[in-house]
């Protein structure tokens, strides 16, 4: 049987000692999960190793940790996969999740961060008036669609490595945003617009996400939190035209317009255009403040050779810009927005062929 070295980050607030690493040798089949190895160490070597765990089947969401620096559930990460990402090919580093205070060893305080953020999105259904005598009649697709976010097990793995949250600890974050979509996407909920206004106007709301894709990559349940954030934005802007004080609406509009016109991102135009098109945008006091604020970044870019000054002023169109225009025309020509939900159709070839049949169409303003 293969031998694995677990290198566990230990911390006991009672001991008075700082956090440190401790190694445990475990002999175990490679197809067993990392959690089994941790529990082996706890049951046979040191019963004081702290880790929350319960179902061992990736459904209770207790055992989120960082494995070789990557957030994951210990119960559904196999030893052979974990060791493949080990720096020395044998030692598996296991440490508590990030963005949350550590209570003991691998146990973090989810109440202080994650559950507080969940409470911020008013996490319960707000139906209109009294319920019907029977069930609410809602489309099959809509229920399948929100089941993707219902599948969230609140393990905190996406919260652990959210870059935006690292920069802004107040950011509502991937998991709570997915929870918000669970109601925004639910046709039975009557507070859709209020929810979206709230999320858009919140200075640490949906426009705080920087699209790094980390949460999509690490989510053990396919919830794809960032995709839900993007869908919340599309609902807020496309369906409700919510012009938020964070300028998310205009920023997105500017972004789309620039790509339509140039084919690639014209960084120098994006910021002023996010405050209004043309001269109006440039003269906007907020825009000026931001432009001045971004000057050092721009200068650093020029000095390091990453940005050519000529390109800042003179942005070239793509050689085949016509093709980009064609895409825009095709999309604008549609009666309604189509949301392709890969959660439902899967990602393999034959499932994608069926995708037209199950693509979720979202209703317009309600």
């Amino acid at each position: 049987m293969p031998n694995y070295t677990l290198n566990i980050r230990r911390y006991s607030p009672e001991s008075g000692e700082p956090a440190h690493w401790e190694k445990f040798e475990v002999e175990m089949e490679g197809h067993r999960p990392v959690l089994d190895a941790i529990l082996y160490a706890r049951n046979k070597v040191d019963g004081s190793i702290g880790i929350r765990c319960s179902c061992q089947a990736a459904i209770c969401g207790s055992c989120g940790v960082r494995i070789n620096g990557n957030p994951a559930l210990a119960c559904n990460t196999l030893l052979r996969d974990a060791v493949a990402t080990a720096e020395d090919g044998i030692t598996i580093d296991i440490e508590p999740m990030g963005n949350m205070p550590v209570i003991k060893d691998l146990i973090v305080d989810m109440d202080a961060v994650h559950w507080k953020k969940v409470q911020r999105v008013v996490p319960w259904l707000i139906p209109a008036g009294e319920p019907p005598e029977r069930e609410y009649v809602v489309p099959h697709e809509a229920m399948v669609d929100v089941t993707q976010t219902m599948a969230c097990i609140h393990c905190g793995v996406c919260v652990s490595d959210c870059l935006s949250m690292e920069a802004d600890p107040d950011f509502v974050g991937p998991a709570a945003s997915a929870k918000a979509y669970r109601f925004v996407g639910d046709p039975r909920d009557a507070a859709t617009k209020d929810r979206l206004v709230h999320l858009a106007e919140d200075p640490s709301g949906i426009y705080d996400c920087t699209h790094c894709f980390k949460c999509v990559e690490v989510c053990p349940k396919g919830v794809a939190p960032m995709n839900q954030i993007m869908r919340l934005r599309r609902r807020a802007t496309g369906d409700f035209q919510i012009k938020d004080r964070n300028n998310g609406y205009r920023h997105e509009k500017a972004f789309v317009n620039i790509i339509e016109k140039w084919g690639t991102l014209h960084e120098a135009k994006l910021l002023p255009d996010s405050y209004g098109e043309g001269l109006l945008g440039k003269l906007n006091p907020e825009a000026q403040k931001n432009l001045i604020g971004s000057a050092p970044t721009a200068i650093r870019g020029v000095l390091s050779g990453k940005v050519a000054p000529i390109k800042v002023l003179h942005h070239h169109k793509l050689p085949d810009q016509k093709k980009v225009k064609d895409i825009y025309e095709k999309i604008h020509g549609r009666d309604e927005r189509i949301e392709l939900n890969l959660y439902i159709v899967g990602e393999d070839a034959d499932a994608l062929e069926e995708s037209a049949a199950v693509a979720v169409t979202e209703e317009g303003t309600s």
Partner: protein, 536 residues
Amino acid sequence: MTVGIISKIHPVRSHSNAAQGGINAALNPDDSWESHAFDTVKGSDYLGDQDAIAIMCSEAPEEILHLEHLGVTFHRNDKGLLGTRAFGGASAARTYYVADITGQAILHVLYEQMLKYDDKIDRYEEWFTVGLAIDDDGRCTGAIMRNIRDGAIEVFRAKTVILATGGSGQIYKPTTNALVCTADGMAMAYRSGAALMDMEMIQYHPTTLLGNGLLITEGARGEGAHLYNAAGERFMEKYAPNKMELASRDVVSRAEQTEINEGRGFPDGSVHLDVTVVPKKRIHEALREIVMVGRDFAGIDITKEPIPIRPGQHYIMGGIKTDVDGRTDIPGLYAAGEVACVSVHGGNRLGANSLLDTLIFGKRSGAHAAGVAKSMNMPSVADSQADDVRNEIQAIIARDKSGGRRVSDIKDELGEMMNDKVAVYRDEEGLKSALEVVKRLQEESKTAWIDDAGTIFNQDVLGAIELGYMLDIAETIVMGAIERKESRGAQFRTDYPERNDEEWLKHIDIKLKDGTPTIEYSPVTITQWQPQERTY
């Protein structure tokens, strides 16, 4: 009046999450609660109490609608109405579901409601119950708790207490049950003098993953999946020609075990569950969790390959004896869900009836307990009870590590032994030796030691307390299995292979009397369905 919810783990981590397939209710106009009730009675092998079953099945439709109104994202048919899937032992497709995460969806929506009523409900998350407070009149007046986060012991006074602590699966190894399912509520009630009922009735689920014992939902067979032996035969033809793979769980589990025991299983000791016959799009939509379980835990693409499975410990039909309002033998103490035995499941629970049992009798317990609480004053609990618990915990921590065994070693031996001797097929010899082992382990547990001496998140010391709970309950399981000299539902005695209604159509109650487990009998309530031969 205030309500406090106390849980040793965060509530959304609870094991109701694991109920994958769905929840039964006769809600379709062409279905009837009587049909649901009959299926449940037959499924129970006539050991279920028919008055309680009638209540559960007749209140089921309303409960589904209530959950739907609260926000559970139940599957809809193409008309946008609630849709159903087929499930085992049922004469109609009456299982309502959310993909294969029904329990999770319901649990999370109920937690949403708890957050909504935050000002009315006090939540104590990550508090461990060490014992019940019982006053001189024998009334339950609260509980003694340990705050897992800082180790503080507190007395919680209560006019009424409802146990909703779930099952006891960790007595077995492997099991589909989570690590938290350690019989806490059953043991605390039993130690306080409440009767346990039908403890021998342990359900083995027909489809658990070979190796680690993970659950593969009955919904897979509900969606049309087949079972095959190594010769490629759909062996259920021999055992249940009408219902095939959708016979009652005890029937299918026994069939599989027979195939394996008689050499028709695969060399690794499994039979195969073939989901590939289900359309791929339907698998992705309705069996998503199982796709992930196959991929993550077995390295199998279930849309292309069969799944090696075998029967595995899953559920206990027995539990704390209650009436239809959740009342136990102890005034002020209620129980609901897997911890309780009303009994609606008798000798064998139908799939998708466990969430229903929990919800219906949970609600009834709550209503009754609230009614009682309204008309009484808050009782007092002597602080000495907390001191006793503090001393007990200190004593565990102080145990000498040079002698005795590790707590975890004893737990492992218990689990493996129970899965060997108190499983699908049982006999007197095996059961008697099982009882001897349990008694020896009980002795050994008194000196069993742990490593962690801390107060913050000392999970080690909780493990020692849980081991004590499990050993007490294991003893009652084995005693019940020895006592019942017949084969009914999940109890199959190779030395008494027939059902014997004349002598054993009765419940077996086990109670602690002067510290000694004592067996009594109580009658089964039969209303309109007389016992018949049970075939599928």
